[in-house]
Each structure stands twice: as structure tokens, then as C-alpha cells.
């Protein structure tokens, strides 16, 4: 069995997006936040002999802590330090892969060799990634098909799986947005939580957006937008699946998703009542039917299906499909890695700081407060990402992201209060 390398790029949708498609209003030049590129350190390998390939080195203190609670794995990074990454203009994975494909790729030969000599477990498939000697990824058109909200809506409707939505494909369909009852949600085909989705609350806004789309259409853009009804949701949840290269479909797990106004807040893995409600519907049969169709068009690999339990008690099976890993699968991977029971929550908080933070001191403070999980304890916080705390000082406050798992009986609010106090001591503000 070849060695396995894990790597993660958290904005793959930008690579899959078709620039000839319609798009929601967004200013020119808006870039992904800097710290997002460094969150790849939370994508944890399954086995001790596996390799985590990250853009900057994994924080040694955090890695040592993970090892102390059973999380062994090897590490390798593209750059030897955050400073080296910054001095090279902070390339993300797609830029690194583009460089490898061009003559300018010499600095990344070691990365290319690692990726080609191992079996790859990517967070999401990127077309430019060096191909492994041991496996070929799905074709790009199959990856795009499986991730497009437009094609998934049409496929579900063909399969008679409940998935209500109006796909705008042609210029003359744009004005149909005016006939829909507000509120409804407009999504780009490759939009994600946090961007590429917009709640149309009133007719006046629908009229304005129709003018925007008509202008884009006159410039030759078409398709790529979908309108979904506003659902009366009791619980957002997602299911994680794996389609093998030979078409075998495996259910990985179910998790409750905490969202607030399109913003992802966290994951709860302990959801017994949700599991029971879902098992009483034909959810699993419907999703397996959908995934078998995705395999027929050439997709295999990880899939996260976003679903909902509505306030009327019915299970709404497909809100959207993300044919990649997800925050839910990351939480499940950590749960399996550390064998820490079923009652696990993942929480993430944006933070700001003035200067690079010594992560070891944060771990130390959490331990002193009795909030850091360790062997023999029933509960606590397990930080899983540290690299975004090492960004160099800029003119303004630096933004980073804190991500942790929680287990035990304390609430997320009480853990957040302890965390806030510990972070404040080292000059970090929790937003």
C-alpha cells in the first residue's frame, strides 16, 4: 500500500467556477482572506504513517499536543516558515500547482515529488494538482458536474428527489426571477457558505438583480444561477459519503450543522434525535441513488450532502451537494483519529491580533484553566488549527481563525468564555 498524503485547499469552488456564467454582485479585486490559505493544518491524516502536507509548517506545539492525545502522523510543508511564504507573495495551492506546471515550478519540486509518489487524499480535487502514480482523479467536467448547484438540482428533479429550485440557464429565463415569491435564495452554481448566495427579501431587490443579470447576459454570460425557496428549517444537517473509484458508496456519518444567516458556525456530531428522524425517512436511499448517478457521470471521491429537517418534521434531502470533504468530514476524521467518543462539537471563531502569537502559550493557558482536553479527562477543548495565528504584523490588525473540537458536558458558551479569557491574555481578540 503506497504512503498517503493529505492536503487541503478550502476555496476549490473558485477554481471550478465558470467565468462565463452569471454571478451575484461582488466587487472587483476582492480576495479570499489571507488566513484561509493557512487553515489546511486542520485536515488530519487518518493513520500514523500518513503525511500531512501543508503550506507552512505545522505548529510544533500543537502537533506535539495532538500526538500526546493519540494523534500521530507525519508532516511536511511547502515553505519552511510563514515568513518564507509571505516573501513569496503568499501563494495558495492553485498558484503553487500552476507554478509546478510551468517552468517557474523549480522551488516546488519536492512538493511535486511527494504528491506524485503518494496516494493523495485531497480536501477537494483541483485540476492542476500533480497526479499521483497510484491513482487518477476524476475528470474536471465530472467534478464540476457533481459540485454545480444547477446540475444537482436538475438531476434531483429528474430522479424525483425533493429539491426545489429554478435554474436560470438562458437569457430569456432571467425575468422569471420576478415571478418568484419573496423571500428566496439566489445562489451561484459554485457559491459556498459565506459567499455566492444571497437572500432576496423583496421584489425591489429582485428587479435590481434582474437588471444586473441582464447586463451580464448582454456581455455574453449565461447560466450558473439558481433560485431556491426559503425553507422553514428546524435543523440543518449534512451527511458525509465516499464513492470509491469502482463505484462503491459508503456512508461516513451524519452531523448537525450550525449556520447563522448563511454563515457557518460549527458542527455537532452527537445528534441521536436527528439520526432517528432521518432514519425514519427514505433519506439514505435517495442520497445513494443520487450518488450512483454522480458516479455514472465520472465522479468518485468524498461527497458532503447538505440537507435539512424542516419545522413540519419532514426531511428535505438535498439543499446542495459539495463533492469534496467538508467541515463535517474534518470533525469526523478527528473523532476517529483521537477516539474521543460521540459527543463532539466543532466550533470556529474569527480572531484578530496585532503580532504573531505563541500558540504554545495559548495551550498552556487553556491547560491551566482546566479546559484543554487530555487523556484521563472527560471533556475539554482540542484546538485543531494554529497556522493562521502566525501571520506577520501588518498596518492593521491581522485576522485569523480559531478552530477547535469540544467534548464533555460543558456548553459551547462556557468554553468560549474560557477561550476568550485565554486568548485575551496573549493579545488575541475573539470576534
Amino acid at each position: 500500500m503506497p504512503p498517503r498524503v493529505y492536503w487541503a485547499h478550502f476555496d476549490p469552488e473558485a477554481c471550478w467556477h465558470d467565468c462565463n456564467s452569471l454571478s451575484l454582485p461582488a466587487p472587483l479585486g476582492a480576495k479570499s482572506a489571507l488566513h484561509l490559505a493557512l487553515l489546511d493544518d486542520m485536515f488530519v491524516p487518518a493513520d500514523a504513517q500518513d503525511l500531512s502536507l501543508t503550506i507552512v509548517p505545522k505548529c510544533q506545539a500543537l502537533h506535539d499536543y495532538h500526538v500526546s492525545i493519540g494523534g500521530n502522523y507525519h508532516t511536511q510543508s511547502v515553505f519552511e516558515s510563514v515568513e518564507a511564504w509571505v516573501s513569496e507573495d503568499m501563494p495558495s495551492w492553485p498558484e503553487i500547482f500552476a507554478s509546478i506546471q510551468s517552468d517557474a515550478g523549480t522551488p516546488y519540486l519536492e512538493v511535486r515529488d511527494t504528491l506524485s509518489s503518494c496516494a493523495q487524499i485531497p480536501y477537494a480535487y483541483l485540476a492542476q494538482a500533480p497526479v499521483s502514480h497510484f491513482q487518477s482523479p476524476p475528470r474536471l467536467d465530472a467534478i464540476r458536474y457533481a459540485n454545480s448547484k444547477s446540475t444537482i438540482t436538475q438531476l434531483c428533479q429528474q430522479l424525483e428527489i425533493p429539491c426545489v429550485g429554478k435554474v436560470i440557464e438562458h437569457q430569456d429565463e432571467i425575468t422569471q426571477l420576478l415571478k418568484l415569491d419573496c423571500p428566496y435564495v439566489l445562489k451561484e452554481a459554485f457559491g459556498v457558505s459565506g459567499k455566492g448566495a444571497y437572500l432576496v427579501k423583496e421584489q425591489r431587490i429582485a428587479e435590481r438583480l434582474v437588471r444586473h443579470f441582464q447586463k451580464q447576459s448582454a456581455q455574453g454570460k449565461q447560466g450558473g444561477v439558481i433560485a431556491q425557496p426559503w425553507l422553514d428549517i428546524e435543523i440543518d444537517f449534512s451527511s458525509q459519503w465516499e464513492i470509491s473509484a469502482c463505484g462503491e458508496i459508503t456512508f461516513i456519518g451524519l452531523c448537525r450543522v450550525e449556520n447563522k444567516a448563511f454563515r457557518f458556525n460549527g458542527i455537532d456530531l452527537c445528534c441521536q434525535s436527528l439520526s432517528e428522524a432521518v432514519s425514519h425517512s427514505n433519506y439514505y436511499e435517495q442520497i445513494q441513488l443520487l450518488l450512483s448517478e454522480l458516479f455514472k457521470v465520472g465522479y468518485f471521491g468524498s461527497v458532503c450532502v447538505d440537507s435539512a429537517l424542516l419545522k413540519n418534521g419532514t426531511v428535505y434531502p438535498v439543499i446542495e451537494v459539495n463533492a469534496r470533504e467538508s467541515m463535517g468530514s474534518i470533525a469526523l476524521r478527528w473523532q476517529n483519529k483521537l477516539s474521543i467518543g460521540n459527543s463532539i462539537r466543532l466550533r470556529q471563531y474569527d480572531v484578530t491580533y496585532q503580532a504573531p502569537v505563541n500558540f504554545e502559550s495559548i495551550l498552556h493557558k487553556l491547560a491551566l484553566q482546566g479546559a484543554l482536553f487530555c487523556h484521563g479527562k472527560l471533556g475539554g477543548i482540542i484546538p485543531i488549527a494554529a497556522a493562521s495565528f502566525g501571520l506577520p504584523q501588518q498596518n492593521n490588525l491581522v485576522k485569523g481563525r480559531w478552530v477547535h473540537l469540544e467534548c464533555g458536558s460543558q456548553t459551547s458558551e462556557s468554553y468560549r468564555a474560557i477561550l476568550q479569557s485565554c486568548l485575551s491574555d496573549v493579545g488575541v481578540s475573539l470576534l
Partner: protein
Amino acid sequence: MNYLSEINELLCSIKNDPSLAGQVTEQSNFIEDFGIDSLDIVDFMLGLESQFDIEVDFDAFDFDNLTSAKRLVDYIMAHSTTEA
């Protein structure tokens, strides 16, 4: 027309945070100082259109206009048909 004051009012509404009243200055960066993110931006730009009777070309609107309130006011004045 007091542009900064009206933009500040819009900001309070978008962020649903009355404590931001009086916070916008010519130097304000809406992204970094007030946390206007990708989800807020559409509401913010549509709000600017209504407030100042302008029509923003969303596909040409420069992100940098949101990094300085003075720059945003200049943009609005250049695109406004309303007398100041």
C-alpha cells in the same frame, strides 16, 4: 448631504449594530474596521444605491472603494445625480 453620516446609518442597519453610530470617518476601512464581509457587501452596495440614488455597475465596482470611506464618498459623488 452629509455622506459619511448617511453611510454610517446604512452600516448600522446592515450590521444590525447601533453601537457603530458615529464611528465612520474618512479613514474608515469598511472591511477591516467594521467587518463588512462577502455576505454583507451585496446589501451594502444595494443600500448605497437606494440611499444616494445611484446605480452601481457591480461588475466594475472596485473592492478598494470599500477600504476608505473618503474613496467611497468620492465614488458616490462621481456617480450621483443628486445635488450635494
